[in-house]
């Protein structure tokens, strides 16, 4: 009785484990294939903003997570303040992109890694400026305060600067 139960358990575990492994491998293959396909679609759509490579991915993920954590942690009024401050802090990171080739030579960083950090920093800053503008407009509209039109100026300049950079990167690719 005991030996047949042991056999049943062994068979069950072996078949179960094999099935889990096979399904797992199949899922991994599917996820990897989908990720590759998504990455290809992304790169074809946003040619100016290349996806980070594996070694760049982790620092960028930490950077994005930190920004997101400090941004959404609080009330709407807090979001208005924090998104503005975070975008100003990220501006200091972007200021290291002035002479990219020179600084990448001095620091010993790979040029494509350096460029990727600059692009993702700029993308994050743009999102925060957008969040800052939207949250400020929503907050002021709900409280009946006036929205100063000139305050849109920094936001527009930021988008313009990013757009020029996108066009510029297209030019260098051609």
């Amino acid at each position: 009785m005991l030996s047949t139960q042991a056999y049943a358990l062994l068979l069950g575990y072996t078949v179960g484990l094999a099935l889990v492994l096979l399904i797992g491998i199949k899922c991994m293959q599917y996820v990897s294939k989908t990720a590759r396909s998504l990455a290809k679609t992304y790169e074809n759509t946003f040619r100016g903003f290349p996806l980070p490579r594996l070694q760049e991915g982790l620092p960028i993920l930490i950077f994005l997570a930190a920004n997101l954590f400090f941004l959404i942690n609080g009330t709407l009024e807090g979001i208005v303040l924090r998104s503005g401050r975070l975008s100003a802090i990220n501006l200091t990171l972007l200021s290291f992109g002035y002479h990219m080739s020179f600084l990448s030579y001095l620091s010993g960083l790979n040029m494509s890694h350096y460029r990727s950090i600059h692009y993702w920093g700029a993308g994050t800053m743009t999102s925060e400026v957008l969040a800052h503008t939207t949250a400020a407009v929503v907050q002021r509209t709900s409280t009946g305060s006036e929205v100063a039109m000139w305050a849109v100026c920094p936001s527009s300049l930021e988008k313009g600067s990013l757009l020029i950079d996108y066009r510029d990167s297209q030019a260098f690719r051609s």
């Binding site: 503005g84 030579y105 260098f172």
Partner: protein, 257 residues
């Protein structure tokens, strides 16, 4: 591609907009005392920009003016120029690298123009290195360069860029079209130098260069190809897009000493 001709305008606009952004955020900020948030971050960004600019300028001036004013020697053939500039560089040059070239006396705004050019060759001398560029006349900067009769003052910034390692390949095929040959010449030189130092697996290198007869620059570029040892150059002509195109194939077979 047309947009490529305006790459410097785009780069400059990007920098001007970034500076305008800092000014606009400063006006937008509630408090403008230097220690307050976000003014302190704007100050840090501005200082970083300024320090980078000063460091870059010091580096360029030190590299170029260490032994006096560097003058470019320009040799012309058809619509292609061979520009040689002596620089006081201590660091070595690797294939695939490029430099930014500026000739301040070319026009009133040429101090702002720093286009990239691939290094086509170099020679060591007692004061540093003389680097050679092959430049084809296209528009504005390169057209102005072809009209110069004297030896203009020339500043170079670099070298920048990474090398593609070729040491582990036994047979190497290099392709180039038109003035793109300039970027391949240093690879041929590197393979030959590595072979002489017994540091490469390469035994055979073939360089295929397609040149357009309209530019009439073969007399300038072919000596650069044929100066390598153990070469054999064969040419094929064909009609492509109503223009005669010459295909030069230079085979470099490396043999034991």
């Amino acid at each position: 591609v047309r947009i490529g001709q305006f790459s410097e305008v785009f780069a400059l606009s990007h920098k001007i907009l970034a500076a305008a952004l800092i000014v606009a955020v400063w006006f937008h900020a509630g408090s403008r005392t230097p220690g307050s948030v976000p003014t302190v971050y704007l100050l840090v960004a501005s200082c970083t920009w300024l320090i980078t600019r000063i460091l870059w300028l010091c580096g360029v001036l030190y590299q170029n003016l260490r032994f006096g004013m560097p003058r470019a020697k320009i040799e012309r053939c058809g619509s292609t120029l061979k520009v040689s500039i002596p620089v006081a560089w201590q660091r070595g040059i690797r294939p695939g690298q490029n430099v930014r070239l500026c000739t301040p006396t070319l026009s009133w705004c040429s101090i702002l123009q720093w286009p990239h050019f691939a290094i086509a060759g170099y020679e060591h001398n007692d004061r540093g290195i003389t680097i050679d560029f092959l430049i084809r006349e296209r528009s504005r900067f390169t057209t102005a360069l072809t009209r110069i009769s004297h030896h203009p003052l020339a500043l170079v910034d670099g070298p920048y860029g990474a090398e593609i390692p070729l040491k582990r390949y036994g047979t190497i095929l290099l392709f180039a079209s038109g003035i793109g040959i300039a970027a391949q010449l240093l690879y041929v030189k590197r393979v030959q130098d590595d072979y002489d130092d017994r540091e490469t697996s390469c035994r055979e290198l073939t360089l295929i260069w397609e040149s357009d007869e309209r530019f009439n620059d073969r007399n300038l570029i072919e000596p650069e190809i044929t100066k390598f040892e153990a070469h054999e150059v064969s040419r094929f002509s064909s009609l492509s897009n109503s223009q005669w195109v010459v295909l030069s194939v230079a085979e470099l077979v490396l043999t034991s000493h």
